[in-house]
């Protein structure tokens, strides 16, 4: 016997919405980059929110997971160049951790490219806009994370 059935209450794929992007930016480079972009008054897609952190070392992988659970479609972690970290090698530590997290995200099918870990310095601020635009384009090409993956908190309120 063969029965053709599909899961009838599988959530509809979220309709075309602008992707939500969360940026964890370290205060010493990432945030200054954002500031530089702002000073140039270059129009940017408004779909990102920046959370300033003291150092990307303090970006818990769990917080990144939480961000996806709360309905983000992509997360960027922006720190200082390796060797240029105010906190010795905290950025390198963060990189290694998040690299493993990317392997996990790839494993469960979310895809490693939804988490971008990138390093720059304050004077490369003009690159901030590029990073954001490129990442937004990349995420926009993907389907939104299925809503059943994200928490009901994001769905409910």
């Amino acid at each position: 016997m063969a029965v053709e059935v599909s899961n009838n209450h599988k959530q509809q794929k979220a309709t075309e919405r602008t992707p939500r992007i969360l940026v964890f930016a370290c205060k010493w480079c990432g945030l200054i980059g954002a500031d530089g972009a702002g000073r140039k008054r270059e129009p940017l897609p408004p779909n990102f929110r920046v959370i300033p952190v003291e150092c990307v070392g303090s970006v818990e992988p769990d917080a990144v997971i939480r961000a996806f659970a709360d309905g983000m479609d992509g997360v960027i972690v922006m720190g200082c160049h390796l060797g240029g970290c105010r906190f010795n090698d905290a950025n390198h530590a963060a990189f290694k951790r998040l690299e493993l997290l990317r392997a996990l995200l790839e494993g469960v099918g979310i895809g490693r490219d939804r988490l971008l870990v990138t390093f720059g310095t304050a004077h490369e601020g003009h690159q901030f806009t590029d990073v954001l635009r490129n990442f937004t384009n990349l995420i926009a090409k993907k389907e939104s994370l299925d809503t059943s993956w994200t928490s009901s908190r994001a769905r409910m309120i």
Partner: protein
Amino acid sequence: MKTQQAMIDQAKSLLKKLLEDGEATAVFGLARGMGGVTAPRIFTMPDELDSLVLEPKWPLAKPAMEILRTAPGGYRLAVVCRGCDERALVELIKRNQVDADALVMVGVACSGEQASICLCDRPYPSKLDIGEAAHGVDPFDDPGVKYLLEGDTHTRMGRWERVLKRCVKCYGCRNSCPICVCDPCKLEGEPWVRRGIIPTEILSFHLIRAFHLADTCVACGACQEACPAGIPLVTLQHAMRRALREGFEYEAGLDVNEKTPVLFDFIQAPEKDRPIPDWINTLRD
């Protein structure tokens, strides 16, 4: 290949000697007891070892840790270890949960059959005392693992969703994990995981749990065995274990003195063949 009985005999004489020589205060292993029920047992007298058995697979690392936690000073526990038990104990030693001096590990080889059930690529301890090492199994050859880990991400996300949604938050995976020791645990509540909902938040519960074991998981499979919903939890770990092996040349539990690359060796040991993205080259071909 030695027969099971020959292995048991060898284990008995070896362990008896440990007890008689005072090398160990007690032996922790499996015993066939009343009514033919097999269960873990602490053997303190050499004669008691007559009831020792080596099958079935029963993860002993965590109970061994609990025993040692409450043991008096000078207590030395000999633990009958399969490969995964040994690796789990090594990880526990690295994380200061077990006093290496209070532990005598007696290594037992798993059968090839067991290895293929566990998808174990290393079905033997590094210090092998009993039995002969069987060939390991590459988990990535398994169709089930391939189904969930290889190919198009979007399809796989659907597959993972289907199995992860079955979670009833019984915490069996965490409680049976030999490496999970925290109290309280992040999975138990806000702000990490929302309480009181079923299915639990798939992402935060399962990914946080999996990630916390990223560089310590020894792939013993205890979590998966404990799961009433049959979620292939070890498969999640395989993804990270592979990344660790390929990117950092590291595998958990092999050597007490080998440090995890996630916590050590910054700058000095840049990742092999792994470009570190910067803003300029990010997302450009």
